[in-house]
Every structure is written in C-alpha cells, then in structure tokens.
C-alpha cells in the first residue's frame, strides 16, 4: 500500500547527468522521493544542479545513470505519457512575449487539448489577478505578473505533478509571497509540486526540502528537521565597524565559520565550551570594537546550508 502511494509522486534513484562527454558533472547520485501531494523544495545556489535535475525529471535530459518514476511513469520509457501528465515551468520566462495574456493562455490550453474555461476552477485565483491585463502583450507584464501567467499556463491541463524551476527568481518580495500562497493552494488540490529556489528563506514554506550543492544532495528533511539537526551553537555578532569585525572574527583561532547574515555576522566555534566564548569576548575587547552586540541565536536554513557545505568540504579535503 505504501509502495503504491510512492509511485504516484516522484521517486528517483542514483540519478547522474554529465555534460561535455563526462567532463562536467551536473548532478551526481541523486536519490529522493516526493510523496503525492507534497510540496518539495530543491534548495541550492546557482549552478548547484537544480535545473539539470528538473530537466531530467521532465524528460528533457536523459540521465547517464539512474532511474526515476514520475507519477507512476518511467522517465526513460514512458516519455510521451509523462509529457501529457506533468506541468513544467522553466526557469527562463517561457511564454510568447509578442502574444497577449489571453492568446498565450489559449495557445497553451489548445496545445494540451483543453480550454481555459474547463480549467478555470484550478487557475481561478491566479487568473483573476492577471485578467485585467488579458489584452496586454506578455512581454510588457511585470516580473511578478509574468510568473503568474506562466504558472497559469503550466497548470492549464490539470497536471498531477508540477515542476517549477526557480519561479521566484527576479520577482519582487510581495509577488514572491503571493506566488508561494498560490503554491500552497495548489497543494491543497492534491498536486505534487517540486519547486527549486536559490532563496533559503523560501525553504520553510515547503513540506520537505533537499539541500543541493555541486550536484549532490547534502540533506533531505522537513525544514524544521533540518533546523533541529544543526549540531552546534550559533551566535550573532554586530559592531560599529562590520568589515573589520568580520576579519577579526575569522582570524580568531577558535572560529569555525563566520559570514555576514543581514546586519549581523553569524558565527560558530570549533568547540562549544563556555571558555572559548569568554576568550572570544576578551579578544574583541582587545581589538577595541565598539557597540558590540553578541548573542546566541537559532539557526536559519541558510546557516544549516553553510554548515553542511563546510563539513562536506572538510570531509572531501580529509579524504
């Protein structure tokens, strides 16, 4: 029974895809499962392999090694059936700039052998927002509107699985927020959604996330699970002269990592002893930093990401 439910989501095993005849590895040994109706996030910086992974799962690339089943269909053998079933929104804005909003929608609806009206229940919430611009050319829409229109087009055939490649890149904060609200609503309709994003703050909006870096998945868990698994103490640090503070903190012999995070610096130590912390405070005093704020904070997804990245690197150099 459990096996059957897994089959309807996404399940991939050991996916590897290289380019330039194996010279460049885009993704390596990727395995994960997305449950039906789950909102799954691929979180990672540019060049991590998110787009390649999505293109493999949407049958646009053939993986070198590994298998994947999307909505019960094998990506290698059931290409045609799969292409009928999935919704896909590429990272580059993929609508016809010289066609109006209405023409774009109708074109994609016809392409998927349906009509805009027939799917109104699914796209209604998004459609009402772009409806005032229905006669405007897609190229003249704002970034947020473009993304909403593209989402409408990707949803027009009631896909069972939806792939969104960096849908919020280059979109303003308000539109990003609205976009994620829409994804939450779509999730309620039972659509399985795989979304990629370089924005770590969006990770908490997903049911589960995969942290991906240099073509490998570092960790898969719920956002909370990832936060809880952060093994060491994290401190936030601020002073009048931010840059020299960063240099000094990185130069301190007990520092494991220190990077800028908003207006604060985020800092971890090699050991978790109180004595190290006291030594660090004295060190800052010696360096004559003014208006120093130093406190322990809860980690964010970005902290977890940086921590995992650093430990992977250390593992690599060690081996």
């Amino acid at each position: 029974m459990e096996e059957a439910t897994v089959e309807r989501g996404i399940r991939c095993t050991a996916l590897t895809k290289t380019f330039n005849k194996g010279a460049t590895t885009a993704i390596e040994d990727i395995s994960f499962t997305v449950e039906p109706g789950e909102l799954f996030g691929l979180i990672g910086p540019d060049g991590a392999g998110k787009t390649t992974l999505i293109r493999v799962l949407t049958t646009l690339y053939v993986p070198d090694i590994g298998q994947a089943v999307v909505d019960g269909l094998d990506i290698a053998t059931e290409v045609k059936a799969l292409r009928n079933r999935v919704g896909y929104m590429p990272g580059k804005f993929s609508l016809y700039q010289d066609l109006t909003v209405a023409e774009n929608l109708e074109f994609f609806a016809t392409l998927f052998n349906t009509t805009v009206q027939a799917n109104m229940d699914l796209i209604h919430d998004i459609y009402v927002q772009i409806a005032p611009f229905r006669d405007r050319r897609a190229g003249q829409l704002s970034g947020g509107m473009k993304q909403k229109l593209a989402l409408c087009c990707a949803l027009i055939h009631k896909p069972t699985v939806l792939f969104l490649d960096e849908p919020t890149t280059g979109v303003d904060v308000v539109s990003r927020k609205e976009f994620w609200q829409m994804l939450a609503k779509l999730k309620k309709q039972g659509i399985t959604i795989l979304v990629s994003t370089p924005y770590m703050d969006e990770a908490t909006l997903c049911d589960r996330i995969a942290l991906i870096q240099e073509g490998r998945i570092m960790k898969i868990d719920t956002p909370q699970g990832i936060l809880d698994a952060f093994p060491i103490r994290l401190f936030a640090l601020k002073a009048k002269a931010t840059y020299s503070l960063l240099c000094d903190a990185q130069a301190f012999d007990g520092t494991q990592s220190c990077f800028a995070f908003g207006e604060y610096l985020h800092l971890t130590f090699l050991d978790q002893e109180e004595s190290t912390i006291r030594r660090f405070k004295d060190y800052l005093k010696d360096k004559k930093h003014q208006e120093v704020v130093f406190m322990e904070v809860k980690p964010s997804i970005e902290d977890c990401f940086m921590y995992l990245m650093k430990s992977e690197k250390q593992l690599k150099t060690a081996s």
Partner: protein, 378 residues
C-alpha cells in the same frame, strides 16, 4: 482515430495562428519578408542593369556627305545610342571623354560616300572609354551591328552589285533585346525565396529555444513532427505570396514574360520552397542563438546561391572544383527550371531532370532535418 486527427488539426491551427502573430507583429520580420523581394526586383531591374540604353556618343563627321548623315541618323534612331555632340576637330575628342559627355566617339572619314560607292571599304573609327571595359565592349558590339546593317542597306541603295560576302547576322534567341530582366528575375526568385525561407524558419525555431518556449513545447503532448509542420506551413504560405509578388512586379514593371505554365511554375516553386524550409530547419538544429542562425543563413545561403546559380557568373567559366560544388546548390536547378518555364515556355518534359534532382534534394534534406530535430535538450 477521427477524434485524434481532429484534436491534432485544432492544435496545429492554434500553432499556425501563433506563428502568423509572430510574423505580423514583428516589423523586422515583415520588412524582411516583403521588403527584400521588392528591393531586389527594383534594384536589379533599374539600378544594377547591364542593359545599354541611350548611351551618349559623340560623332566627328569628317565627310559631311549624304552617306555619313544617313549613318548618323541610323545610329541615332536606335534606342541604344543618343548623339550628344557633333565634333569638329580631333582635339575635342578627349575633352568629351574626360567630362563624361560621351562614352563613345564615332569618327567618319572624309569622302565616306565616295569610298562606299567605289567599293573601297571605308574605315570608320570607333573610340571608346577603356576605363570601363565591359561597357566599352558591349557598346562597340552594338554599334558594329548597326554599321553592318547600314552597310548592307547602302549596297542596295547605291545599286552596287552585291559582292559575295558573308555577313554574320547575330540574333539573341529568347531575349533579342538583350534585356536584363529575363536573366535576373529567375535569379532573384531563387535567391529571395531561399533566403527568406531559410532565415525565417531557422530564426523562428531558434527564438523558441532562446526564450525557453521550446522546453515547454517539448514537455507537452504536442507531437514534435507537428512543431516542424506548424513552423513550415506559415512560411510556405508566405513564400508563395512572395513568389506571386515577385512575378507580378516583374511582369508589370519589367515587362517580363511568363511563357510557360503558371501552374507548373508554382508547383516547382513549392518544391523549392520546401527545400529551403528544410535547410532552415537544419540550421535551427545546429544553432542556439538567433544571431548565429541569421549569420549562418546569410553566409551559408546567400554567397553560394549568388555564385553558383549562374545568373551572375556563368558556371561554365568556373574552375572544375567550383563547377562540382555548384551541383549541390539547389538554387542552380531551380534557376534553370524557372528560366525554362518563364522564358522558353517549356513544359515538364524538358525539365524533368532538374525537377527530379530538386525533389531528391528536398526529400534528403527533410529526412536529415527531421532526424536532427531534437525531442530533448542537449
């Protein structure tokens, strides 16, 4: 099955409509599509002509008798020459060349009539401007013809016993007036149709790649072969409109005849257009940016077509390797066919060989471009 076909037709109709929107909403492609043929026809028809019309000449008539006047009248009566000045001493000759008032000077010797009557061959001197050897050559030939005609007539006039003498009579078959149009209209047709089809198809497909819409098209139930068909059909239609435009312009403006079957002309043109469309498809599958596609279409199509079609440079005069290359240029065969149909008024039986080669090329290119068309990203 019927339902499936109906769905496919509806999908294709939507796709083709979209293609027409692209063309008609983009001023640049509209200009390319309809501006190019008009510009080419007008350019070749009026500006780049190598026809001889009303060439200004000067005459230095040393005889001033009846015969010389008749000769001058004769020259002037032809539409090729216009006697711009009568000279009175040899020193004026050079001045007229330098100021460009004359491109040719005809010097008639003293006692022209008397010499003619006495059956002594009088010597006429023709001086031309050798800085433009092509024109000089052509107009000398024209003038020679006129003078020979005159000579023959004079013999009758003066009631001299015609001596046995072979006078070469030249007659240009099919194009007696040596007009340029019959030569270049088929050339422009092969060039323009090829360029437009190749550029429009390759650019429109590569644009979809650039915008990422190709990804969405691929991850959709729409058959890849229908993508190709739906891309080809609008440009086939537009090219046929273009062909009509070129033909109307040549007939109306350039008085070009269409002696053969119009239906045959359109039929074979359709084959040629499909050849060009498949070339465009091929280019689109090896390029990833619109600029590259444009450059490849222009460089890869324009030059070989201009060189190897035979309407600018005769193929027979080329070195053997170039003659061999010319055999793979589709425009070469189309050019021969169009000339045969339009000017000579020949039917399919006369051009079946060229037609067969063209059909073969079309099938080959279609198959190759279809196989090259990727249903995935690379």
């Amino acid at each position: 099955m019927n339902a499936t076909i109906k769905i496919l037709l509806v999908q294709m109709k939507a796709f083709i409509t979209k293609e027409f929107y692209h063309v008609f909403r983009d001023r640049k492609s509209l200009l390319l599509l309809f501006g190019l043929p008009i510009a080419q026809i007008l350019l070749f028809g009026f500006a780049l002509t190598n026809e001889i019309k009303n060439t200004k000449i000067a005459v230095y008539d040393q005889a001033g008798d009846r015969a010389s006047k008749r000769l001058i009248q004769r020259v002037e009566a032809s539409k090729y020459f216009e006697v711009a000045a009568m000279l009175h001493n040899p020193a004026e000759i050079e001045g007229h060349f330098k100021s460009g008032q004359a491109r040719l000077v005809l010097v008639i010797p003293a006692q022209f009539e008397a010499d003619l009557a006495r059956q002594q061959e009088p010597t006429l001197q023709i001086i031309t401007d050798g800085s433009d050897p092509n024109t000089a050559n052509t107009i000398t030939n024209y003038l020679n013809n006129i003078i020979q005609d005159f000579q023959t007539d004079q013999k009758g006039n003066l009631q001299v016993r015609p001596e046995v003498r072979i006078v070469p009579v030249m007659r240009m078959l099919y194009n007696p007036q040596l007009k340029g149009a019959p030569n270049f209209v088929p050339g422009v047709m092969s060039l323009v149709l090829l360029l437009i089809c190749v550029m429009m198809t390759s650019i429109s497909i590569v644009r979809e790649k650039e915008l990422g819409t190709m990804e969405v098209l691929l991850v959709s139930p729409f058959e890849p072969i229908l993508v190709i068909l739906s891309k080809a059909i609008p440009y086939l239609v537009l090219s046929l409109v273009n062909l009509t435009l070129i033909l109307v312009l040549s007939v109306v403006l350039l008085e070009m005849p269409i002696n053969g079957s119009l239906l045959l002309l359109f039929g074979i043109s359709t084959i040629y257009i499909i050849t060009s469309l498949s070339l465009g498809l091929l280019i689109s599958s090896v390029t990833d940016s619109q600029q590259a596609a444009m450059l490849l279409s222009l460089m890869g199509m324009m030059l070989p077509t201009m060189l190897f079609t035979g309407f600018m440079f005769p193929i027979e005069n080329m070195p053997i390797p170039l003659q061999v290359i010319s055999h793979v240029v589709p425009a070469r065969y189309y050019y021969v066919i169009v000339k045969a149909i339009m000017i000579k008024g020949l039917g399919l039986s006369a051009i079946w060989k060229e037609t067969a080669i063209l059909v073969g090329m079309t099938i080959f290119l279609l198959v190759v471009s279809w196989r090259k068309f990727k249903i995935r990203l690379e």
